[in-house]
């Protein structure tokens, strides 16, 4: 980490997006994480993604729980309101805010301790409900802030820094998210910005729960030989099934590909997910096939990455609640307080 904040000056030649913001307008406070932490790369990818999809910074609402990963929302998009909740409970707080203000873009950042252990229940139920959000788990397989205990996503047989071997079966949040009905599911690696940025862009543009599991090695406590969440291990076992480009509704389409190589998915907001297949047989619109493929590859010790599943026509929580188009937090007294005559009628019915 550095103690020196960058000056807030913007160089006039900095590239601007369609709203006139530069990438620097999406930055946050200086990170307090360890130098080289994968989480900082993810924050950088979030900044890049928000910039590229022309998101007005204050239209984002960012949430987290407790842990190293959950510190990060302070380190990106400062003009957005942020909420650092209690341990494992980010999903419920975000759900409540989303119910109240459906007109914002919701991003929840969590870790493997926060979402796979104490918060597994809230993770599951948030996904089930189809809360319109991007849910990023910065997954390092270890408790960093308390200095190196195994987390629930640690693989069986993975070794701790001091040599202990993990005996418990791992929780695969991607598989869970698929089973629970997430409508956009991806996995990536903090060290692969080219894969991660488009995945986040697609997620932020998605209507419904978009879940991204990002392997993000802990350089302080889980980056040694014998760990299955180290930089070297993840690089060696990373198997990307596709490459994603996200084309915002306003952007001109100019790239050309040979037929059959490409799959295009148009999302609710008009953005286009352009998928270039790397794995011939992989169909990222087939939930059950994705589950089978992931199970098969996990048994082989491979880490499947890419956009693993997307349903572009998903419904979200508000569709089920059938709420009015205006956000609930913008309703005024006249919308909310029934007339006195209604109360008199209720009184009459209780006599």
């Amino acid at each position: 980490m550095t103690y020196l904040a960058k000056p807030p000056l913007h160089h006039p030649s900095l590239e601007k997006n369609a709203l006139g913001f530069t990438r620097r307008d999406y930055e946050g406070r200086i990170s307090t994480l360890c130098a080289g932490c994968g989480h900082d790369s993810i924050s950088a990818a979030i900044i890049q993604a928000c910039f590229e999809i022309d998101l007005a910074p204050h239209r984002l609402a960012k949430f987290s729980g407790i842990g190293c990963s959950s510190k990060t929302p302070d380190y990106f998009v400062s003009p957005a309101h942020g909420f650092n909740a209690v341990h494992g409970r980010m999903p419920s707080v975000l759900t409540g805010a989303n119910v109240a203000a459906k007109d914002l873009i919701y991003l929840g950042v969590s870790g493997d301790g926060d979402s796979a252990s104490i918060g597994l229940g809230q993770f599951a139920h948030c996904v089930r409900r189809g809360v319109n959000m991007t849910y990023i788990v910065e997954n390092n397989g270890v408790y960093g802030l308390t200095k190196g205990q195994f987390s629930a996503t640690s693989d069986k047989g993975s070794k701790a820094k001091k040599g202990a071997e993990n005996k418990d079966s791992p929780i695969d949040l991607v598989m869970l998210a698929l089973q629970l009905g997430a409508t956009y599911v991806g996995r990536s690696f903090s060290g692969d910005k080219h894969q991660l940025v488009p995945l986040i862009k697609g997620a932020l543009s998605h209507k419904g729960t978009a879940f991204i599991d990002v392997l993000s090695p802990c350089i302080a406590f889980n980056n040694h030989v014998g760990s299955t969440k180290s930089f070297d291990y993840v690089r060696a076992h990373n198997e990307a099934v596709n490459r994603l480009d996200v084309i915002t509704p306003r952007a001109p389409i100019h790239a050309t590909y040979a037929p059959g190589e490409l799959k295009e998915v148009v999302q609710h907001d008009g953005s286009i997910l352009r998928l270039r297949k790397l794995e011939e047989d992989y169909d990222s619109t087939n939930r059950n096939a994705a589950l089978g493929y992931l199970a098969h590859k996990a048994a082989e010790g491979e880490i499947v990455t890419g956009l693993l599943f997307v349903d572009p026509d998903a419904n979200d929580l508000h569709d089920g609640l059938n709420t009015v188009d205006v956000s609930l937090n913008k309703l005024g007294d006249a919308d909310l307080i029934p007339p006195v005559s209604a109360l008199e009628k209720i009184n009459a019915g209780l006599r």
Binding site: A56, P57, H58, R59, A61, F63, P73, D74, S78, P79, A80, H81, G82, F83, N84, A85, V86, R89, P91, S92, V93, L94, T95, G96, A97, N98, V99, A100, A101, D103, L104, G121, Q122, A124, H125, R129, L317, L321, N322, T323, V324, D325, S327, L328, N329, L331, D333, D335, L336, I337, P338, P339, V340, A342, L343, I346, N347, L350, R351
Partner: protein, 609 residues
């Protein structure tokens, strides 16, 4: 033994098996009396069970408007063999026992100091109806018929109510009439008149008969709540259900779209998390729960206190600790709610005494939560929440505005308002807040439960921390001017003795004070309606030598709060505690206070030489 004789002043208790359909017949019984202009206090005493266990329904008939529990039973309708012995034993000497005489019972099963009223209910119903479920349900209406004849009910009133009850299910009306008539005709032909009578009066006025949970939910609707996140738990569940019922009727647009949202969460922790998320984003939101739920919500409640986020919790109290007595009433969550969560915390609580106040406080709680940006408790009790009370009608001032508190708008930010989330700008220790998405470049902040400075930046500096904690304490003092003041009732003559009480005890206390006064025992009374305590509460204690504190818990939780918050010497407060899970009775209060006054007087007398 002379049989009891009373007009419009007696207690009837029904002993039934739950799941047998007795609730609607018993409710009908109470409503007939109300429609005849005679006030009733009615209470279900029911098990945590769906079918097969004992349940009771107690009706206090009182033209003088004593609507709390009196204690004792004048007429027992004993329909449950499981509880027969205890039920018979509970009848006042000279009282009455109505029972099903279809099968003979040994003489040892009865008492000779009460009047026995046997009616062959099962036999009569079996002769007229064949369907087993129908037989079971109509037996209940049949005993209402017997009672109607004995007590002098107006038959037209009964029939009118049955017609209203089964509106839309019209084919049920005739069988109910028939069962009622069987009972009434049997009593007319075979039973001697009894000393208890209901006589038409004009003492009900424009009052309504309603459950506290229903009232509180309606209060939330008028109070502008748009979001309810909840998890089912007895005795609070019907509050969420009522909120949905009223919102569907009152907050649905022509196209079916809803100006409200209800989420049944996965647990109480998620419920309060959602409530705070929505409160943070500027929508009025609440959860309804009971003690076990509040236990689970503790971490978030402390978060709300420290990060200053509005939310409302309706705690419908039941018997604790642990799973305790889920279907019995208590006032035993005061300490839990007052100081919920780790670290130094305090939370406002409102104590409604009846459904009318449940409605008023149900709305007011949202103003307090928004104004002071903190979790606000409405401390209901099972006895209020799940019982129908005869209570003043709901009123709403059409000019009343929702008080959203100190919210900074985009216009204010644009005009140069210097926003700092936790700054005390106005000297009342209440800071300003912004909703997310307010302004493109100003007014954002980061909410966290970790220590922060007055601009919401993470800080571990001791001065930043203590400054924030001191301001929260000062905000607590400001709150004293916003919560409902206590209600004082002075004795007719000057007295050194006072009594403090709150919540559902109000009804029984009114009757107890009246009776004590008739015996020459004078007490000034103060009903506490909120925490933090206002200065009137401590003034009252200071003005009396001895103050009884009447509570429905074991440990004297209100007393503990008074000692803790007011620096009161414990010896000045004398606990009067009723906590067996049944609602407190006037007789209990009279007896306990009389005994304690007597003991104090005896102790004060000089020893005999």
């Amino acid at each position: 033994m002379t049989p009891l004789a009373a007009v419009n002043d007696f207690v009837v208790k029904f002993a039934n098996v739950n799941g047998s359909g007795s609730a609607s017949a018993n409710g009908l019984f109470a409503k007939v009396i109300l429609r005849m202009g005679v006030p009733v206090g009615a209470r279900n005493i029911f098990p945590s069970n769906i079918q097969g266990l004992p349940t009771w329904y107690e009706v206090r008939v009182s033209e003088d408007n004593w609507l709390g529990r009196r204690g004792g039973v004048d007429l027992m309708v004993a329909m449950n063999p499981q509880t027969w012995d205890a039920d018979v034993k509970s009848i006042e000497p000279g009282g009455y026992l109505l029972y099903d005489s279809s099968k003979p019972l040994p003489a040892a099963k009865f008492r000779d100091d009460i009047t026995l009223i046997g009616a062959p209910l099962t036999e009569m119903i079996a002769a007229e109806f064949t369907n087993p479920r129908e037989r079971q349900l109509l037996k209940n209406i049949c005993y209402v018929g017997v009672l109607a004849q004995l007590l002098g009910f107006e038959t037209e009133v009964v029939k009118q109510l049955v017609t209203e009850e089964f509106k839309g299910k019209d084919k049920l009306i005739q069988p109910n009439f028939k069962a009622f008539d069987l009972g009434r005709a049997y009593a007319e032909a075979n039973l001697a008149p009894i000393g208890l009578k209901v006589r038409r009066a004009d003492k009900v006025g424009d009052r309504i008969f309603v459950e506290g949970n229903d009232a509180a939910a309606l209060g939330a609707v008028y109070g502008g709540a748009t979001f309810c996140a909840w998890y089912p738990i007895t005795p609070s569940t019907s509050l969420a259900e009522s909120f949905e019922k009223y919102c569907k009727a009152l907050r649905t647009d022509a196209d079916g779209k809803r100006r409200f949202a209800i989420v049944q969460a996965e647990d109480e922790i998620a419920s309060i998390g959602m409530v705070l998320g929505a409160g943070w984003a500027g929508a009025r939101s609440f959860t309804c729960t009971s003690g076990p739920g509040v236990s689970l919500m503790n971490e978030f409640i402390g978060f709300s206190y420290y990060a200053e986020i509005p939310g409302v919790i309706f705690d419908v109290q039941r018997g604790g600790p642990s799973t305790g007595m889920p279907t019995r009433t208590q006032q035993s969550d005061l300490l839990l709610a007052a100081y919920a969560s780790h670290g130094d915390t305090k939370h406002p609580m409102l104590f409604p005494a009846n459904p009318t106040e449940a409605f008023e406080f149900g709305a007011l709680a949202f103003d307090i939560a928004d104004r002071f940006q903190t979790t606000t408790f409405v401390m209901l009790e099972l006895d209020i929440g799940m019982q129908e009370w005869l209570t003043e009608p709901f009123k709403w001032d059409p000019s009343r505005k929702l008080d959203r508190g100190k919210v900074v708008t985009a216009e204010m930010l644009g005009a140069g308002f210097q926003f700092g989330r936790y700054r005390d700008v106005d000297g009342d220790a209440v800071p300003y807040r912004t909703y997310p998405g307010t302004h493109p470049s100003k007014g954002s902040y980061f909410t966290r439960g970790s220590s922060h400075d007055k601009d919401a930046r993470y800080s571990e500096r001791g001065e930043d921390y203590t400054e924030g904690m001191e301001r929260l304490l000062k905000k607590w003092d400001t709150m004293k001017y916003a919560v409902p003041a206590p209600i004082r009732k002075n004795a007719k003559r000057r007295t050194p003795d006072g009594v403090l009480y709150f919540g559902s005890t109000d009804a029984a206390m009114d009757e107890a004070l009246h009776a004590l006064e008739a015996r020459g025992v004078h007490l000034d009374a103060l009903r506490v309606r909120a925490f933090p305590f206002t200065s009137e509460v401590f003034d009252f204690i200071r003005d009396h030598e001895q103050v009884f504190v009447v509570e429905q818990n074991r440990d004297g939780q209100l007393k503990s709060l008074l000692i803790n918050e007011g620096g009161i010497h414990p010896a000045r407060l004398v606990s009067v505690l009723h906590y067996d899970g049944t609602p407190i009775t006037a007789r209990f209060i009279i007896k306990d206070i009389s005994a304690k006054l007597e003991a104090a007087r005896a102790a004060a007398l000089p020893e005999k030489a």
